[in-house]
């Protein structure tokens, strides 16, 4: 299981890009943290999610 924004999901074995493709996140508006570090956008396709990983998808909204 992978913890995503506090929720346990059965996505171990997928890449970050594969997981994001199953969601409604707008890729231009997000940053992805995995186990305490930011995953560079260029590495979404090669970063595998492992059992026990914790990720947070920060999705920005406009205004400032």
């Amino acid at each position: 299981m992978v913890r995503v924004n506090g929720q346990e999901l059965n996505i171990a074995g997928k890449t970050v890009a594969e997981y994001l493709a199953t969601t409604n996140y707008d890729i231009r508006r997000i940053a992805v943290e995995r186990n305490g570090d930011i995953v560079p956008k260029a590495k979404y396709e090669e970063t595998l999610l492992h059992d026990g990983d914790s990720i947070e998808v920060v999705s920005f909204v406009g205004g400032g």
């Binding site: 231009r28 508006r29 940053a31 943290e33 920060v58 920005f60 909204v61 205004g63 400032g64």
Partner: protein, 211 residues
């Protein structure tokens, strides 16, 4: 009569303590975007006695900014970098300012921000916020980033919070209140979010890393 630099530092030390003020005076903080968030963050950091601010914005002061941003009616039409620099120097005459009137892009971000200890993301658009966040955390890994997301509308002041995402990445806001047709930005709620960001900067410099 403007006080001398010695009187200025002395007054800050009396309120913040000598040790903390030394850290604040030695710090360089970049403020990216000088709108409702950035202009308020910069004013707070100037008052706190941050040694140097790097100010970045390409835009000019417009009448539509005055309801929430730290500019004056007689500054309409000026570049925000120039107008804010004037205002900051009136507040804190010994602060050092480096102003860049340009748009932050993937190409220039590292050059513009490499001398900052802490970077405040204070943009308007969600895409720009995400772009800067990814660039700073990926390409400037020794910096701290203090970002903001979700402060539009007149929702509760208490829903604006600071969160720590990684050891280098903090974010303030309610996370969801986006600017839309009927949900604008109001001075008070934007200033609360800006104050969260400025306070996180202060706490990082005081080595208080938890939110």
């Amino acid at each position: 009569m403007i006080p001398t630099k010695e009187e200025w530092i002395c007054a800050l030390e009396a309120r913040h303590g000598k040790e903390l003020q030394k850290e604040l005076s030695a710090a360089t903080v970049a403020v990216c975007g000088l709108g409702g968030l950035g202009s308020n963050i910069a004013v707070l950091l100037a008052r706190i006695g941050i040694g140097k601010l790097i100010l970045v914005d390409f835009d000019r002061v417009d009448i539509s900014n005055l309801h929430r941003q730290q500019y004056k009616a007689n500054q309409i039409g000026k570049y925000k970098t120039e107008a804010l620099a004037e205002n900051l120097l009136e507040i804190a005459p010994y602060i050092r300012l480096e102003a860049h009137t340009e748009c932050i892009t993937h190409e220039n971000a590292v050059t513009l921000l490499q001398n900052a200890d802490i970077i405040c993301e204070a943009f308007d658009s969600a895409e720009s916020k995400a772009m800067l966040t990814n660039i700073v955390l990926d390409e400037l890994p020794s910096k701290y980033l203090v970002a903001a997301s979700g402060m539009a509308g007149i929702g509760s002041a208490n829903s604006i919070k600071s969160r720590k995402i990684t050891n280098r990445f903090y974010i303030a806001g309610d996370g969801v209140s986006e600017v839309s047709g009927d949900l604008g930005l109001v001075a008070s709620r934007v200033a609360i979010c800006a104050a969260h960001q400025a306070h996180t900067v202060l706490r990082i410099l005081a080595k208080q890393f938890e939110v």
